[in-house]
Symmetry: C2
């Protein structure tokens, strides 16, 4: 099956073509990008006309909790503990895997409609998550979540899930201890063992706010990065979400390590954490990527919305508009995300041989016209109605704004309403 | 002519009804809100069904440069001087009033499509601006702009414009010296005279960045607010755009004065100015409203986009998520804007007797579903495709996303392309 995306202006995010943005044809054979050509004359089964449109890699959301869609935008004017105790935990405690199927399904549709092709999820209810992924065909890194003390059955259960699903091409896997401040040392060590055994990343919350940093320092008698080092966790592939407070001195320890920081700018502001020093992290060679967090604190999973905050916050933090470019933001949301997940040979850019995770943007609507600077427009002025087509693993999941998956959106919304009604009553 | 907006959930922004958000019918007689009722049974000429939708006051953009639409999102990674010298001024110098008609027209359509019903404009080319306003029927405060030294002909020209147009119900007027740091004392005094003569506000840039504050301190040997006081300008109605750097001590001078600060969060980040201390300003009784600035630094004039930054930046600045609520943001974008422009008896809330400047939102699309907290959703997750209907002065300018004005959008975009081609060649 050969599909050709014809005549779009292509943002490849391939270093070799950086900032050239030519009009090109993208040839997709089954699920793989098989050609990037000036005027493709070969065979095809389907043409997707992208004339006047933008073709770019699907976005990669490196820290998300897809099951939390029903908590969308609930953290107004609340401190973290009140929010968790009143709005989140009592409800989460009652959620079944079937509930999580529906709440995750809602987030998968949000991904497709807002141009995200891969998310790095961290939530419970794996059977529900799996069902939602199989139905919508989005790409997901799925987590073996754990917190508190080590429980063998939790690991056995995840191991079974891993072994049963490791050949699912749309899935990759992490082990996800909640955080250094909420997990025992024993649990962290078991996570390391599991990660070593199956060569998968460890995905964890890290240095999100100042009280967490204090707790870690009190527990480990050293800085959080040093604590990771002492536990030999820096030898692993680490995906550290938030990293709002990392001391510059400690960044040296990360040199040549396989550690990625996931910047969550919206959630970090909304929860009153602050603004991560992305510039210093990047200068010190850390791979910084982008996440939305759950919709509770991140408000939505529209990566275009979250991208708009990245350069602004750095420019504001440094009081200097020259410190950060929109292209760096786009790297964070695409190729850097792929690197964080260990999938840089498969996704994150439009290159021959990579998986066909591609989105097409239509920027012609009057209210954002004109587009003198393509990358600034893409990172700041794209709304969901600008996302015309979403292709994941060669499957066209949305075309001309029309969802092509087998889910009835109106029925899903009714189901979501009834879940909320039942959980909150 | 009686129109009834039927059965919507109404956010009135009327203090008396604060946060009740009932299902109500809004009755519009000609251009005035004549009734807010539970189930209107009277006569009507047109029903606008808002079942399942949100009805709220149109947004008020208190600092804008509508003619700058062609510079949209051009300030990536550039310092202010480079941006102005290379990207803005050489082109602005060549713009004719006819060019400004088209670039303003584009912004007027952006206003209608993104739910802004009034803007406080500051740009040259008044004959072009007037033509665009008459064509699109948006509400505008139009500025008599000036900079540098006093020139009598500039004032004579504006006076003639004012006298010719003062009965235009869609227009109000300001005198707009560029800034204390770019205008001579004589020019400021002439602006004061003009403002006094016609009882109109003074709209000016104020304390946008640190170098501006330094210039004012060097010139006036005192703080910027004290300088305004010494010039007796605090006796006037003042609309001060930006106010990123105001010393708290000076806020006392503003007590019981008719002074409004226009917060421009996106532009202030994008130009590396910083984050205004909105909380301290509000605590000291200053009327703080919201502006987008021009699209060059603000990226767009979609007030919903700009609203999303307001509470986040305060929560981040104070490292406390409880310091600011979404409702306060909405006040800034509606009723506080009306107060700033001296139009609080006419616009800014849905109340009987006020002008019918009303928008209707449809929040039912899957990608932002559900809406557990109405005001947080409205201030953070509304995109232009959620804005269903825009009514200004009783005129339905957009209904079910369809623009009902007499402008051909495709022709306008072609015209914009040719203007850019001609100005930049």
């Amino acid at each position: 099956m050969i599909k050709v995306i014809k005549n779009g202006t292509v943002i490849t995010m391939d270093n070799k073509r950086e900032k050239k943005f030519e009009k090109l044809d993208i040839v997709i054979k089954d699920n793989i990008i098989s050609g990037i050509e000036n005027n493709y004359k070969g065979e095809y089964d389907e043409i997707i006309d992208a004339t006047g449109k933008i073709v770019m890699p699907g976005l990669i959301n490196c820290h998300a909790h897809l099951g939390m869609s029903i908590f969308r935008a609930t953290n107004d004017n609340l401190d973290l503990n009140t929010w968790l105790n009143d709005k989140i935990w009592p409800i989460e405690d009652k959620m079944t895997d079937e509930d999580i199927y529906y709440t995750t399904l809602l987030s998968c549709i949000e991904m497709i409609k807002t141009g995200t092709t891969t998310s790095n999820d961290m939530y419970m209810g794996r059977s529900g998550i799996l069902k939602a992924i199989n139905e919508t065909k989005v790409r997901l890194m799925i987590a073996g979540t754990c917190i508190g003390e080590y429980k063998k059955e939790v690991f056995d259960n995840y191991e079974e899930f891993y072994l049963n699903n490791k050949n699912n091409e749309m899935l990759s896997f992490s082990i996800a201890p909640h955080g250094l401040y909420t997990c025992s040392k024993e649990l962290m060590m078991e996570c390391k063992k599991f990660a070593d055994k199956y060569n998968i990343p460890i995905h964890t919350h890290f240095c999100e706010n100042e009280s967490e940093v204090k707790t870690i320092k009190d527990t480990y008698n050293t800085t959080p990065i040093n604590a990771l080092n002492d536990l030999k966790l820096l030898e692993n592939k680490l995906i550290l979400a938030h990293c709002t407070f990392i001391e510059e001195e400690d960044l040296k320890l990360l040199k040549d390590k396989d550690v990625s920081f996931v910047h969550n700018p919206v959630s970090n502001l909304n929860l009153g954490c602050g603004v991560a020093d992305v510039i210093t992290y990047r200068k010190n060679g850390v791979n910084v990527c982008l996440g939305t967090d759950g919709q509770g604190s991140g408000n939505n999973m529209n990566m275009f919305y979250h991208m708009s905050f990245v350069d602004f916050l750095q420019k504001g933090k440094y009081k200097d508009p020259t410190v950060f470019s929109s292209y760096e933001t786009l790297e964070m949301a695409t190729i850097n995300g792929a690197k964080a997940l260990g999938l840089e040979k498969e996704i994150g850019s439009i290159e021959v041989g990579k998986k066909a995770d591609i989105i097409i943007l239509d920027l012609s609507n009057t209210e954002i016209y004109p587009t003198p600077d393509l990358i600034t427009q893409v990172t700041h002025n794209v709304e969901s109605n600008n996302i015309d087509t979403t292709i994941i693993d060669g499957n066209v999941l949305m075309k001309n704004h029309k969802l092509l998956i087998d889910t009835d959106e109106e029925e899903l919304k009714k189901k979501i309403d009834s879940i909320i009604f039942n959980l909150i009553k």
